[in-house]
């Protein structure tokens, strides 16, 4: 069972906040002993998901946690908004599908860059995406 050893919460209401979240995730990944490639993967996934929260969810929060599971260390990121929700998650997870004028790589790309990925979305009530990457 994974336990949370530390946790920080960040607002996501402007594009500067995406940068702040990226930097916090980088710090956590370095502290957790991630390789340079793994650091880059989770920071990039964080950037994609933070931007989704901002652009599609109308802003929200990001939670950055360090996890311990026995001897394994991981970083878990939660992105939550109170926006319109995603009507068709299966479609939204497809490469190249976009409603925001982007490239449609945000969700599918973030999933590929993570070890664990889950998404919960309720119409008119918001979306929560949780990812984790282990050392």
């Amino acid at each position: 069972m994974a336990t949370t050893t530390s946790r920080e919460d960040f607002p996501l209401t402007s594009s500067e906040h995406i940068v702040i979240v990226r930097q916090a995730v980088r710090r956590r990944a370095v502290e957790s002993g991630f390789s340079l490639v793994d650091q880059t993967k989770i920071v990039t996934a964080a950037s994609e998901l933070a931007r989704n929260t901002l652009m599609h969810g109308g802003g929200g929060v990001a939670v950055v946690e360090t996890l311990q599971n026995g001897t394994r260390t991981g970083v878990r990121l939660t992105f939550e908004d109170k926006g319109p929700g995603i009507p068709n998650v299966e479609l939204a997870m497809r490469d190249g599908y976009s409603t925001g004028g982007g490239l449609g790589l945000g969700l599918s790309g973030a999933k590929r860059l993570s070890n664990e990925f889950s998404i919960e979305t309720v119409p008119n009530n918001g979306t929560r995406v949780v990812i984790a990457r282990w050392k």
């Binding site: 995406i18 880059t40 993967k41 990039t44 982007g102 490239l103 790309g109």
Partner: protein, 120 residues
């Protein structure tokens, strides 16, 4: 307002991105560069991203846009100095920077620009 500097050297424009860019700054660079290409008649644009610790789909798209816009304005673009970890992540993300020419470092990027501008 915060801006990424664009240097002119002969018929080339040089940009070195040294900060962790937020989205508006990336869009600003895109606008500034196309404006400078048109104003100076530059034939080549070199963008150094060796200081960037990550390139996500937004920055990737900006690089693609700059390459496409400069092509329409009769200039060539080359992106240089991408870190290996960034390249690995970008491809796994699903972004292959189609249409963007790359070189390992500034020197080979300049060589690539001079052949495409003078020879083509």
């Amino acid at each position: 307002m915060e801006r990424i500097p664009i240097l002119k050297m002969g018929s080339y424009l040089l940009v070195s991105i040294q900060v962790d860019m937020h989205d508006r700054l990336a869009l600003q660079l895109q606008d500034d560069l196309t404006g400078r290409i048109a104003a100076t008649g530059a034939r080549g644009v070199l963008i150094d991203i060796s200081a960037l610790e990550m390139v996500d789909s937004f920055i990737g798209r900006m690089l693609g846009n700059i390459a496409a816009m400069s092509r329409v304005l009769d200039a060539s673009t080359v992106v240089v100095g991408m870190r290996p970890a960034v390249a690995i992540t970008l491809v796994e993300l699903g972004m292959e920077l189609t249409g963007v020419r790359t070189a390992l470092d500034v020197e080979s990027g300049m060589a690539l620009l001079s052949t495409s501008v003078d020879g083509g």
